[in-house]
Amino acid sequence: MCVLAHVLEAHGIATVSLVSVLSVAERMRPPRALYCEFPLGRPLGQPNDVEFQRDVLDRAFALLKADAGPVLNAHPVVIELETEPLSCSLPARFDPNLAPAVDEVRALRAAYDRSVKSRGGRTSVGRVVSPDAISEVVGAFVRIAEGVRWDEVGLPADPVQCAHDVRTYYEEAALSLDEAATEPGRAEAWFYDRTEAGKALLAARKEMQTQKAPFHFWFYLARGTR
């Protein structure tokens, strides 16, 4: 992003950057930057908090008053990522003939649909896997965890993109199950630590490493710190 600040400014456009990693801004020296120590993925800090978002913007646009750059200020508020998984209950087993993770995906469909409806139909699921196909893809990750070759299991796209849709399906479902799902990191922790699909994904990640899959395809199935 700091590269874009330099490029745009050189074309005669004034820029203000919200930066999330302080040392990068210090090294790349964009013309005007506001360092915001908020959870990655939330550069404006707080969803559905107009006052807080406006405060971030006011502080960022105030940098336009500087006569010369680079200018680097920091927002005074720090927001930490939460690490406690949601405590919302998971659906009971329904079809014993299915893998638990696949059964779980199907049982969460109503929660996912409610969540999407509450946002007027907006969803980030479907980049490569539609909501209807999430259970098939989770089934593929279960088979990888059991030892099937990752490149022969029938994933519809590269594993990272498939995992993106699976995780998003769960996180969006969680939003209709537990109000705490809007707290940064809690739905993600719930997905990987509590759900069958999340556990299957982590097991598939380990197996893909054993199968010597390309680094990018297994490492980015979960946050790098996992």
């Binding site: 992003m1 590269v3 874009l4 600040a5 330099h6 490029v7 745009l8 400014e9 050189a10 074309h11 005669g12 456009i13 004034a14 820029t15 203000v16 919200l18 999330s20 090294r27 790349m28 020296r29 013309p31 959870p39 990655l40 993925g41 939330r42 550069p43 404006l44 969803p47 559905n48 107009v50 978002q53 406006r54 913007l57 336009l64 750059g69 680079p70 930490e80 990522l81 690490t83 969540s115 907006r122 969803t123 980030s124 479907g126 980049r127 993109q161 995992a163 995780r167 998003t168 996180e171 939003l175 799902a181 809007t182 940064p184 809690r186 993600e188 980015y220 946050r223 790098g224 710190t225």
Partner: protein, 149 residues
């Protein structure tokens, strides 16, 4: 699991360096046309998604709200965007500021990149970045707010 670990990891990564910092003086904000450029890889559902090697951009119209968070990285929170896209792409905040007269005008088009760099770290700097800049200049944009993910 924390962002501090990821921030430390990024600390250790090499970054493109600039010998000088270009600096453009903007008009008063209340007279400026403002656009958002984000590296969050958001896009309309019917646009092409962003691959992990994609250094290009997608154009987002001022009225678009049915947007997808298409970034491939698992290293950031997604629920914030799910419940309020303004936490990444504060288009409604800009509209309010324009209504209140705090900014001159909201641009008709905004731009999303994915923050990807090729091995030579030159494509955004020499190709897609300047292409987006030319579109913004042609649209009369004075100020750009850059947001990451």
């Amino acid at each position: 699991m924390s962002d501090s670990g990821l921030r430390l990891f990024v600390d250790a990564q090499p970054v493109p360096e600039f010998a000088t910092t270009a600096f453009t003086v903007s008009p008063e904000l209340r007279n400026a046309k403002v656009a958002i450029v984000t590296t969050a890889a958001i896009h309309r559902i019917d646009d092409d998604g962003f691959e992990s090697t994609d250094t290009g951009y997608r154009r987002i119209s001022r009225a678009d709200r049915d947007l997808v968070l298409g970034h491939w990285s698992p290293n950031f929170d997604r629920t914030g965007f799910a419940v309020d896209l303004n936490v990444v792409y504060p288009i409604d905040r800009l509209e309010e500021m324009a209504t209140e007269g705090l900014i001159g005008e909201v641009a008709e088009n905004h731009y999303a990149f994915a923050g990807n760099q090729d091995d030579s770290v030159t494509r955004v700097r020499l190709d897609s970045g300047p292409a987006a800049a030319r579109e913004l200049v042609a649209a009369g944009v004075d100020v750009v707010l850059l947001t990451p993910v």
